[in-house]
């Protein structure tokens, strides 16, 4: 039989206490660091969020232009599942060359406009003229276009043309924009129920914070004010539009 003296009992308790503390540290520290990562990302999270009603009545198309593989990959990873989750149907295109994919894009858009009363477009491309691809479509179909977001530099001026073409709302950037910062916030908040006006404000505010952080990290070499003037998005049309609304 083992001889349990008071000394060995104390040692056992001490060792058990050490193991419990080590386990607690090893489980809690990663959780704390995860919270720090969320804080650094600068956006709230949407755990267990529900899809706003009317998913079956809306469709979305997204197109990414020909950029380096890493940018194409990042855009695909961020966008594709969001569209699949929040829209009844979605199409995602990546161009291999500038201007290619017109036939496929227009065919998918026609199908979306024929079958869904609300169709949103995400033009995730540098300065572009996708507007020209849609002009030949019948006006009755074009009227079903609801929201157009265009990341293109200097493409804010296309807003009136998109509204004239049939869209209810257009968001674009005025100058040489750094739109990915904005798009991250816009897409998440708009899809989780914010109006376009609210999502726009959150996006611009989030982008401003990111620019300030980059400016601070670069020791002032990066001009956050200039970047913001070039990038701050604005909205034309119905800024009260929400994901569940029908045109």
């Amino acid at each position: 039989m083992e001889d349990n003296t008071p000394d060995t009992e104390t040692e056992e308790k001490c060792s058990r206490g050490k193991a419990v503390r080590a386990m607690a540290v090893s489980l809690i520290l990663p959780c704390v660091l995860y919270a720090a990562i969320i804080a650094a990302a600068g956006d709230r999270i949407f755990p267990f969020s529900k899809v706003p009603p009317g998913r079956e009545y809306r469709a979305a198309l997204a197109i990414r232009d020909d950029v380096i593989p890493f940018f194409k990959w990042g855009t695909l990873l961020f966008t594709k599942r969001h569209l699949q989750k929040f829209y009844g149907a979605s199409w995602y295109f990546t161009q291999a060359r500038r201007g290619d994919g017109e036939a496929e894009f227009v065919a998918a858009l026609t199908e979306a406009l024929e079958h869904y009363p609300a169709v949103d477009l995400y033009l995730l491309a540098h300065t572009n003229k996708y507007l020209n691809w849609l002009e030949p479509l019948p006006e009755t179909l074009r009227r079903r276009l609801r929201f157009v977001y265009n990341t293109g530099c200097h493409n804010q001026g296309q807003g009136q043309d998109w509204l004239a073409l049939g869209a209810d709302t257009y968001i674009g950037h005025p100058g040489k924009s750094q739109s990915p910062f904005f798009y991250f916030f816009l897409l998440r908040h708009w899809l989780h129920g914010a109006s376009l006006g609210e999502a726009l404000e959150i996006g611009n505010r989030g982008m401003k914070t990111k620019f300030r952080q980059v400016e601070w990290l670069s020791g002032g070499r990066y001009d956050a004010g200039h970047a913001l003037r070039e990038s701050a998005a604005s909205c034309l049309g119905n800024e009260h539009l929400r994901l569940e609304d029908l045109p």
């Binding site: 503390r21 540290v25 660091l33 995860y34 593989p69 695909l76």
Partner: protein, 108 residues
């Protein structure tokens, strides 16, 4: 000898392991989009998310194991600096990749 110092080696290894997600992020876009790519876009999303998720979770588990072993098998004066210099950066990278995966999945 390795048995005696295994927990120190594991601490080095978990930080070294973070090279793999870096390599994955470097290689995956090329597999999907570089000229002559081998992965079709329809599968690129699934493969990329699965790969990143596995690497993030493996990094988390390994780092937590390393931290536990350091804290139970070494004196506090040695264990804590090692947790700080090896485990915390590895955890940070792992939870960053995990958060990215959860955002890409539209779960958070």
């Amino acid at each position: 000898m390795i048995r005696n110092y295994g927990h120190f080696l594991l601490a080095f290894a978990v930080l070294l392991f973070q090279v793999f997600p870096g390599i994955f992020i470097y290689v995956a876009p090329g597999l999907a989009y570089a000229p002559g790519h081998s992965l079709v876009e329809a599968r690129a999303w699934t493969v990329s998310i699965a790969g990143l998720a596995c690497l993030a979770l493996a990094g988390l588990l390994l780092t937590s194991a390393a931290s536990y072993r350091l804290l139970t098998r070494s004196r506090a004066v040695i264990a804590w600096p090692m947790v700080l210099f090896f485990c915390v950066p590895a955890w940070l990278l792992s939870v960053f990749y995990l958060h990215a995966v959860l955002v890409f999945l539209a779960w958070v």
